[in-house]
């Protein structure tokens, strides 16, 4: 009987020891997991910057594409607005050709001095 109690006692001690040892090792493991080395931190930083860069480029591309779309819309609206005005004015079938303008010749015409009284006298001669 005494022997049996002794064995149980030893067994219990052993179990306790094992559980302690296990818990200790677990703690060490956790500590190891929570602690980072400089290299690991640096790698993480690099990864995060790369992620940020990719996000920025994606946003830029999205903005670009939206701008292009808007521009196209504006152009189409401008064209259609012109056509709308054309329709309002009953232009009919007149074609808009390239018309050249000469303001230099016009200014020559405008600078020719003419007196009304002199002209009337000239007509009466």
């Amino acid at each position: 009987m005494q022997i049996i109690i002794f064995i149980i006692f030893i067994f219990l001690i052993l179990i306790n020891n094992n559980s302690f040892a296990n818990s200790k090792s677990n703690n060490v493991k956790k500590e190891r997991e929570n602690s980072f080395s400089f290299e690991e931190v640096d790698q993480l930083r690099k990864k995060s910057t790369e992620l940020l860069k990719t996000k920025k480029t994606v946003i830029r591309e999205q903005n670009k594409s939206s701008l292009i779309r808007n521009k196209k819309r504006l152009r189409l609206r401008a064209v259609s607005a012109r056509i709308g005005v054309r329709g309002l004015l009953d232009i009919g079938e007149l074609e808009k050709g390239k018309v050249s303008i000469n303001y230099e010749a016009l200014s020559w015409v405008e600078t020719q001095e003419l007196s009304e009284t002199e002209s009337i006298e000239f007509l009466n001669q």
């Binding site: 259609s80 709308g84 009953d90 303008i101 000469n102 016009l106 015409v109 020719q112 009304e116 007509l123």
Partner: protein, 275 residues
């Protein structure tokens, strides 16, 4: 490439269609009213706008035709023209006269006092009375604003005009006015004014020539000369010359205007006009 083009045209046609659907008849009418919102003829702002409109047409005419920069002839035509313009009672408008180098037998009245005559017309003129007749005819068009009437905007009232539209701000109106200027230019150079407008100007011409003391029959003679040449090169912008001559002869008979009455000033014309 062709696929993208097809897509573009498809999108374009949809956008145009939707715009056309948006413009309702009521809005059209309102736009016309805004354009035709008339002010009295003596309004200075309105006159300024008329001149701006006329300058636009004149600059286009000078872009199409070369200007003859001969001070002697230009001054002579200017004197005759200014004297005639004084008879029309538009003292607030300063008239400008230019000679266009072209074999075409034609003359133009851009709005706002800009009058042009071609060298082709000067070549077939026989005397000063005929020159006065041509200038009087164009000044009459200018005074009666025939070119504005023919822009199809005056369906509210013939007395109303578009010049007040210059006072309205807004891109659409500005674009519309530029378009109108182009149409006016095309009417002058390609289509010509309607028969009634030509006849009105003809009657004004006869009356003015008579008032100044020129022989009114000289103008009919000029029209006859153009009719003779018409088969060769007379401008298509005056298609009904024969009918105009007939109507003018009837008018001269009804007013009992003698054929021999009035000056011709053939010598003076020959001295100044050497083309």
């Amino acid at each position: 490439m062709s696929k993208t083009l097809l897509i573009f045209f498809f999108v374009f046609s949809i956008s145009v269609k939707t715009d056309a659907e948006v413009v309702k008849p009521q809005k059209k009418q309102n736009f016309r009213i805004r354009l035709n919102n008339s002010i009295t003829e003596n309004d200075t702002k309105l006159l300024e706008n008329e001149i701006v409109f006329g300058r636009g047409i004149a600059s286009k005419l000078l872009g199409k035709y070369e200007l003859l920069k001969d001070k002697k002839i230009n001054n002579y035509i200017g004197k005759i023209g200014t004297g005639i313009a004084a008879q029309f009672g538009r003292k607030q408008v300063k008239y400008f006269f230019g000679i266009l180098v072209s074999e075409e037998i034609n003359a133009f009245a851009a709005s706002g006092g800009y009058i042009f005559i071609t060298t082709g017309t000067l070549k077939i003129l026989e005397n000063e009375a005929q020159l006065a007749g041509v200038l009087a005819h164009e000044i009459s068009h200018d005074k009666r604003k025939h070119i504005v009437e023919n822009l199809n905007l005056n369906d509210i009232s013939s007395e109303q005009n578009i010049y007040s539209a210059f006072n309205i701000l807004g891109g659409a109106v500005r674009t519309a006015l530029e378009k109108l200027n182009l149409i006016a230019f095309q009417i002058l150079t390609e289509q010509g004014l309607p028969e009634n407008d030509e006849y009105e100007a003809d009657i004004d011409t006869i009356q003015t020539l008579q008032k100044i003391g020129y022989n009114p029959h000289s103008y009919v003679k000029f029209l006859n000369n153009t009719l003779l040449i018409s088969k060769r090169k007379f401008s298509s912008t005056h298609p009904s010359t024969e009918l105009r001559i007939q109507k003018l002869n009837e008018f001269l008979v009804s007013k009992k205007i003698s054929k021999d009455k009035g000056k011709l000033n053939t010598d003076r014309f020959g001295f100044y006009v050497e083309i």
